[in-house]
């Protein structure tokens, strides 16, 4: 056991830290996600400096480093309060799935522009009638000559309004048992018949979308795996979504804890310092402990990954615990403003930062696997309890 960086890791961390100091502008303290074009430009600079795709194979534009380096990148990026790369769906979901299942042509075509942020990806999994029950999706693809013809509707799709490509789960065999009838396509979001309609979240921001597919023609070879492999391929995507994001989450929580500390040390609207209230002090300490526990749980899962090639089961609860911590933390922050927390627009406290993130945090227990589904997964796959379905 040794929590210190190796000399190589320490050198990487130091170099990254000074690069971030020189290049990264701090994320604005304001409501909302920030400006997409700025994020995109930032993604390009990160890529040029070699900080995107750290763990990806070198032949596809990555650096072939161990996941430890990605963990260091995420920690340092959060500590510098640097903006994020805009291509999160591509980097965390589409990319790893293409590396695992794609043909050589597909890897050559898609991976580099994905890393550089030139091409943005979105995900078409959930449907109005099937969210948690992914395998019940009804969006169909029927072979017509050299093309799949896609019809249907997807929902809750982040970045779809900016995306160039979509990883899309479709039903290609309506007669097969539900899991076996699925396939996994790569769809051009600029193709005729694709319509994106933004959905407004409870924050008021249009961050996710509905996607309608009306006779969209997709080249026959734009498929990952074979027809009927869709479920297995989708599981690769979700494994990466749930497996590699742990450090992003604990790093994000560290950033929020730091902001919370700043907040409570300032005089509140009534002139009193929240940090002088023992209940607030207790709650802040609790979230700091939670953040550390998630950080070190990630390190434990990472150690298992490095030793066995498979992320350890201890990491399976990180997203579950993080989402609830983020909800508590942001609600605590909003509470210190009293009724001032209601005031929006130019007069909003902290430029609306806490309003936005408190409301946005309600999505954390729903997106990327609801907490109910995650609890089922832990119960069934980690604890070995009998399946309820």
């Amino acid at each position: 056991m040794d929590f210190r960086d190796t000399p190589e890791e320490a050198a990487f961390r130091a170099e990254l830290r000074s690069w971030l100091e020189e290049n990264a502008s701090r994320r604005a303290i304001e409501g909302g996600r920030g400006d997409f074009d700025e994020q995109r430009a930032w993604g390009g600079r990160l890529y040029a400096a070699g900080y995107v795709g750290l763990t990806w194979p070198e032949e596809f534009g990555g650096r072939g480093l161990s996941p430890t380096y990605q963990a260091i990148y995420l920690e340092e990026s959060a500590r510098a309060d640097a903006p994020g790369h805009p291509g999160v769906i591509g980097l965390n979901m589409a990319g790893p799935t293409i590396i695992a299942w794609g043909t050589d042509e597909q890897k050559q075509r898609y991976l580099k522009p994905l890393l550089s942020g030139e091409e943005i990806w979105c995900q078409g999994f959930s449907e109005p009638g099937s969210g948690s029950d992914l395998a019940a999706g009804r969006t169909s693809a029927v072979l017509d000559g050299d093309h799949w013809v896609v019809n249907g509707q997807k929902v809750w799709s982040s970045y779809a309004h900016k995306a160039d490509w979509c990883i899309l789960v479709v039903r290609t065999d309506p007669d097969a048992p539900k899991h076996a009838g699925l396939s996994y396509l790569i769809v051009d979001m600029h193709a005729p018949g694709v319509t994106v309609r933004p959905l407004h979240q409870i924050t008021g921001d249009p961050e996710f979308n509905e996607i309608f597919f009306d006779d969209v023609r997709v080249p026959r070879e734009s498929i990952l795996g074979r027809p009927g492999d869709g479920w297995k391929v989708a599981m690769t995507t979700l494994l990466h979504e749930r497996g590699t994001l742990g450090f992003a989450l604990s790093a994000e929580l560290e950033r929020m804890v730091n902001h919370l500390v700043d907040l409570v040390r300032q005089p509140g609207p009534d002139g009193r310092r929240p940090a002088d209230d023992p209940l607030i002090r207790d709650a802040v300490a609790r979230e700091w402990i939670e953040m550390q526990s998630l950080r070190f749980t990630n390190y434990r899962a990472l150690t298992t990954l490095l030793e066995t090639g498979i992320p350890g089961p201890e990491g399976s609860g990180v997203k579950l615990a993080w989402s609830e911590a983020n909800q508590r933390l942001t609600s605590l922050a909003q509470s210190v403003f009293g009724l001032h927390a209601q005031v929006t627009g130019d007069e909003a406290p902290w430029n609306g930062f806490w309003q936005y993130w408190q409301l946005r945090a309600r999505g954390n227990t729903i997106e990327a696997g609801t907490s109910e589904i995650l609890r089922n997964i832990i119960a069934e796959r980690v604890l070995g309890l009998p399946k309820g379905r």
Binding site: M1, F3, A275, V284, S293, T304, A321, I378, A379
Partner: protein, 344 residues
């Protein structure tokens, strides 16, 4: 960054787990907890034989043992001797401990004044004789030697020179006692700043140790809950099928993993004398003890009526979890110290 115990440490864990499982099943544990002293008098020399008391053990080696003695509670003053007392002992006394010839504990709390490990003591020493009253002394009625906090430092006092009044306690295998010293012969161990510094280090270790034990307790409670949820049938199905039960088990699992991560972090910080040791130990103690209580409460609930009976082993674990949570103050006390680091 490497978050794994060494191969030797994992071997030690395996030995410890087998030894404890062979020696104490749940019936033995209950028998010992309800016995006259709450102590398995024959086990101590065996611990020495197995090397559990060696002064050369690193804190990471001890961490493995502490976790396992939480998983299957050891009815012996191991926590008191190896964690609370040992760091204060001189080499010769430490050697007697390692050979299995001596058990010891720390006596710090006094009546009517703040009772934290770092609060000032009022016991006095003059002419090599110690006078004062110590309360809530862990394993106070069964050890051979007391490390006693006094106004000007730490002293060693033989148990035979003290008047010991045992308490009846909820946790039957880690009992508490009131210990009265009336001019008892006392050997100085540390004084002034060195004593304060030593006590600070003892507290860090004790918090890490309590967290590690708590992890063992929580793991056993979870194992019992999961086993029962697989086997117990209601409405024609194992109750683990129902999310009202299985989601509780998942929540316990997640908290347990978080607790374990903090406990290992704290253990490493202690072993390496890391600058974050104080915060890590506070965090681990606060979180892991609460996690153990949470695990036991959910396990009792998941077992229904049987989990609420004296016959079932769960309440033994629950009471140990409560002991650990209360030891040197509840989580809010540790939170207050962490808040001071963060906010002041």
């Amino acid at each position: 960054m490497d978050f794994a115990f060494s191969e030797e440490q994992e071997q030690l864990r395996g030995f410890a787990r087998d030894f404890l499982a062979d020696r104490y099943d749940d019936v033995d544990l209950a028998r010992l907890a309800d016995s006259e002293t709450g102590v398995d008098a024959e086990v101590w020399p065996k611990l020495a034989e197995m090397g559990w008391l060696d002064a050369e053990l690193t804190f990471l080696d001890q961490a493995v043992l502490l976790e396992e003695t939480g998983y299957r509670p050891l009815a012996a003053p191991y926590f008191s001797t190896a964690v609370l007392a040992a760091p204060a002992l001189d080499d010769e006394t430490a050697k007697r401990v390692a050979e299995g010839g001596l058990t010891a504990t720390l006596a710090w709390a006094e009546p009517g004044v703040p009772q934290g490990l770092l609060d000032p003591a009022r016991a006095t020493v003059s002419g090599g004789r110690l006078t004062g009253e110590k309360i809530l002394v862990p394993d106070g009625a069964t050890v051979d030697l007391f490390v006693v906090t006094a106004a000007d430092g730490l002293y060693a006092v033989e148990a035979s020179a003290a008047t010991v009044t045992p308490h009846r306690t909820l946790d039957g295998t880690r009992r508490l006692a009131t210990v009265r010293f009336d001019g008892a012969p006392a050997r100085p161990l540390a004084s002034g700043d060195a004593a304060a510094e030593l006590l600070g280090r003892i507290r860090d270790r004790a918090y890490a140790a309590a967290a590690l034990e708590a992890v063992g307790v929580a793991q056993r409670a979870l194992d019992l809950l999961v086993a029962y949820a697989k086997e117990r049938k209601q409405f024609g199905k194992p109750i683990g099928v129902y999310q009202a039960v299985s989601h509780k088990a998942s929540d316990v699992y997640v908290r347990l993993q978080e607790a374990r991560s903090l406990a290992y972090w704290a253990a490493w910080c202690v072993a390496e004398d890391d600058p974050m040791a104080r915060q890590a130990c506070l965090a681990a103690k606060a979180f892991a003890a609460e996690a153990a209580v949470f695990a036991c409460e959910n396990a009792i609930q998941g077992h229904g009526g049987i989990g609420f009976t004296w016959e079932h082993v769960l309440h033994r674990y629950y009471k140990r979890a409560q002991w650990l949570a209360a030891f040197d103050g509840p989580a809010r006390d540790q939170h207050a110290e962490i808040a001071a680091f963060l906010l002041d």
